[in-house]
């Protein structure tokens, strides 16, 4: 059991070692490269704020996904739910682009959550009533939502004064997340993430819904035998998951971005899957995991600037984390046995 929570650390250490080897093969000094990657980005206050900024959407989405994954529902489309949440939330923000008012931001946030929820309901309803595979449906819907966003920012929603750039107007200040510190980008969205952590802990461990999720995840046969309403539960976990992803999307566009354009998310929705598993689907584990994975985003940017390595190395690191996590989980219960050659020779 202790080992179960320990393997994420093994995975992280192996990832760092693996990264060092890759840097070495690419001809860099591995120690220095790793320093640029993992230490330089957070060596000042600004860097630390950036870390929290990137960890916020990851944490929110991963919390939502943990509801799905714990109950054996494989929602892979958080990126699509994030995008659709951002579209709906952004639409509301654009409605109020020239207005001020304290009520605007809550409306925008709510709209984002509802947007994500609706988009997550599509694979959920198809799964419960038409027996489709939620992995495929939710994944394909990611591209649908991205194309919808593309159409909107190029077409009807594009900024009339924007010289045909594929982007909308800037949101009014009343639609923007309040910044926590002057001159740092970290914003109030982090409280949404923290609230989601506390709430999910409460739901998962203290409510009947959480109990049903736990039982269904361990044994669907038992859930059926106990008479849990399986269909309702699938719909509920997808709605929770979609709402969280939608919140993450709306947090991005009302936070650091301030408008809608094509690139609102560097695949946070996909990366959050890694975060959810690295955090062991445990709300507090997910906080830790989101910080670690956020660092790979920052490190990739720093490495691009200082070492001229493409920032896609960040994805390499994220992939390695998942790979090593799965591998160490798989090998956790293996016994390593070293057979001496002599003994083998005698036997043959």
């Amino acid at each position: 059991m202790a080992l179960y929570f320990f393997t994420p650390f093994i995975a992280i250490i192996l990832t760092i070692l693996g990264g060092g080897i890759i840097f070495y093969i690419l001809g860099f000094n591995p120690i220095e490269a790793l320093k640029f990657y993992f230490i330089t980005p957070i060596s000042n206050l600004y860097g630390f704020s950036e870390l929290l900024l990137k960890a916020t959407p990851l944490c929110l989405i991963a919390i939502g996904l943990s509801f799905c994954f714990k109950s054996n529902n494989w929602n892979i489309g958080a990126e699509g739910q994030l995008t659709f949440g951002a579209i709906v939330g952004g639409g509301v923000a654009l409605l109020f682009y020239n207005q001020e008012g304290f009520y605007i931001l809550p409306l925008v946030i709510l709209a984002g959550a509802i947007g994500g929820m609706i988009f997550a309901l599509i694979p959920a309803i198809l799964k419960t009533y038409f027996n489709t595979n939620e992995i495929l449906v939710s994944l394909m819907l990611v591209y649908v939502s991205k194309l919808i966003l593309d159409y909107l920012v190029v077409g009807p929603w594009s900024n009339p004064e924007g010289f045909n750039f594929p982007e909308t107007r800037q949101f009014s200040d009343s639609s923007r997340m309040p910044l926590l510190f002057e001159s740092l980008r970290i914003h109030a969205g982090i409280f949404l993430a923290l609230a989601a952590v506390m709430l999910s802990w409460f739901i998962l461990y203290k409510t009947y819904l959480g109990f049903q999720i736990k039982v269904s995840g361990l044994s669907l046969k038992t859930a059926k035998y106990a008479g849990f309403k399986g269909k309702t539960m699938i719909l509920v976990v997808f709605m929770i998951s979609g709402a969280c992803a939608g919140l993450a999307g709306v947090g991005e566009i009302t936070g650091p971005i301030g408008q809608l354009h094509r690139m609102i998310s560097p695949d946070y929705g996909f990366t959050a899957i890694i975060v959810a598993f690295l955090g062991r689907l445990n709300p507090f584990g997910i906080i830790f995991a989101s910080l670690v994975v956020a660092l790979t985003y920052l490190g990739a940017e720093t490495a691009q600037i200082f070492l001229q390595i493409p920032k896609y190395t960040g994805q390499v690191f994220q992939g390695m984390i998942l790979f090593f996590l799965l591998a160490s989980d798989y090998l956790l219960f293996f016994k390593v046995k070293i057979l001496s050659l002599k003994k083998n020779e005698l036997r043959h």
Partner: protein, 499 residues
């Protein structure tokens, strides 16, 4: 050529349990040896050591005075030790011949010839080209045996071979085993069925708690003496007085139960009609795989079938799910303790919360009332003598018997009017079986009813007031248990008809 197998001072220690404690035994070909013991007595460990699946911490195995190093099943094969496990290791969708040819070293033509020779010699007849899933349990077992025979074994170990067989199939098996024995194959027969030991074997070794407690000639033994050696204490005989009063109310009535499935691994049920009276135990006999699974799930509400009528205490419940049926005071104990009735990874009290009926208040306004669940669980643990009082313990650490007591306790503490159980004593030792049987009889004594779906005919004859047999999804007529004999049941279970 005579074979002589000697086990010398074998010990195997698992954390917290000594599975084999200095076991020494000697076997000689020309005889059939029984290895008798309760679940957990150490038989399986010993057999696994002999077949190379696990290696002992201490001790040696000698075959014809040659010290064997059995570090993998392959070593056992090389040394001509064959093993037929209780659960078949066959690929269901492959044909019989494909299954047999998987680890053969010769070409298909000569393999077919050799298989046909074996068929002739032992009077077997199985179509080699049908998929294994179309075979009966007895035929599947024959395929396993043929697989061993193809390697001309010196030792053949049979692990609880009759648990899935009909009476007729059992007799056929015994005839074959005696033939093998005459040909000089050393046979070790593992079982906890006493009558089989007496009718088949020449010598019997009894194991208890990892030790060999007795080795004797079967002709000097009786069922009672063997049982006492096996259990280590005098068994109190339980008897049930049969509830013959005919004018009691029908509490549960099933009409037109039909079930059709596209899944070839499921059995279709054809027009089942039956009823259960107050205080009665209705037994449903049958070899596993004849529709019991499907029947249980339909009775519990896990599967809802159209056009079926199920009346319970004068209410139509055919459309209700298991949770709703529980509210009407039904209770269910499925066959699969480990992945259906309970979840091993959950703590005891969490498993208790699975039977969440309204009056329990386990979950008030959607919140977990942990105290209530734990208090309730403690009561179950003490009322049903589960050997722990720690409700935080994960259920995977309970033995099969204790887990079953917990499950039955959970289902019975609501004082249900009808308990439906499916193989409640499957894989349990004699002590636990006795306890469960006593409990089930007690329910009937309190005028509550039970439906007992079981593959164990002895259990059915002991507990039921009326018995029906399910075969290929059809139910035989319901007989009062007075007119039923094991032979009659065996005929019906094997698809024959009586009178």
């Amino acid at each position: 050529m005579a074979t002589d197998l000697r086990i010398s001072n074998i010990s195997k220690i698992y954390p917290g349990c000594i599975a084999n404690d200095n076991v020494s035994l000697q076997f000689k070909s020309g005889k059939i040896y029984a290895l008798l013991g309760e679940n957990g007595a150490g038989k399986s460990t010993l057999v696994k050591i002999l077949s190379g699946v696990i290696s002992p911490d201490n001790g040696e195995v000698f075959l014809n005075e040659k010290n064997l190093k059995l570090s993998s099943p392959l070593d056992a094969k090389k040394n001509k030790i064959g093993m037929v496990f209780q659960h078949f290791n066959l690929f269901e969708t492959l044909s019989v011949f494909e299954n047999l040819s998987i680890d053969a070293t010769e070409d298909n033509k000569s393999l077919r010839l050799r298989i046909n020779e074996i068929f002739k010699k032992y009077n077997f007849s199985i179509d080699l080209d049908v998929p294994v899933l179309n075979l009966s349990a007895g035929q599947k077992q024959k395929v396993e045996i043929i697989r061993c025979l193809l390697r001309s074994p010196k030792v053949l170990i049979m692990d609880e071979p009759t648990s899935v067989l009909t009476e007729q199939e059992t007799e056929e098996l015994f005839i074959s085993l005696k033939k093998f024995c005459d040909e000089g194959i050393l046979i070790i027969y593992i079982t906890h069925k006493l009558k089989e030991v007496l009718s088949l074997c020449d010598e019997v070794a009894v194991m208890r708690k990892g030790k060999v407690v007795s080795v004797s000639q079967t002709q000097n033994e009786k069922v009672e003496t063997l049982a006492n050696k096996m259990v280590g204490q005098k068994l109190a005989k339980i008897k049930k007085k049969i509830n013959i009063s005919k004018n009691k109310d029908e509490i549960f009535k099933v009409k037109h139960l039909n079930f059709y499935s596209d899944d070839p691994f499921e059995t279709n049920l054809v027009n089942l009609n039956f009823s259960v009276k107050k205080g009665e135990c209705l037994g449903i006999a049958g070899i596993s795989g004849n529709g019991q699974n499907e029947l249980f799930q339909i009775l519990s509400g896990e599967i809802i079938t159209p056009n079926t009528s199920i009346i319970f205490r004068n209410k139509e419940i055919a459309k209700l799910n298991p949770k709703q049926r529980r509210e009407y005071l039904m209770a269910f104990s499925p066959e699969d303790r480990i992945s259906q009735a309970a979840v091993p990874e959950l703590k005891i009290y969490e498993n208790v919360a699975l039977n969440n009926f309204k009056a329990s208040n386990f979950f008030e306004k959607g919140l977990v009332n942990e105290r209530k669940i734990k208090d309730h669980s403690k009561k179950i643990l003490s009322d049903f003598s589960v050997n722990t009082d720690n409700v935080e313990l994960k259920s995977q650490f309970l033995s099969g018997g204790n887990l079953q007591k917990l499950i039955l306790g959970r289902e019975l503490i609501t004082a249900p009017e009808l308990l439906i159980c499916y193989n409640p004593t499957w894989g349990l030792d004699v002590g636990a079986i006795n306890y469960i049987h006593e409990t089930l009889i007690k329910i009937n004594d309190q005028e509550k009813s039970t439906i007992l779906i079981s593959t164990d005919t002895e259990e059915l004859l002991k507990l039921s007031d009326r018995i029906a047999v399910i075969y290929k999804g059809k139910l035989s007529k319901i007989m009062s248990s007075g007119e039923v004999t094991p032979e009659k049941l065996g005929v019906l279970m094997g698809g024959g008809s009586i009178d």
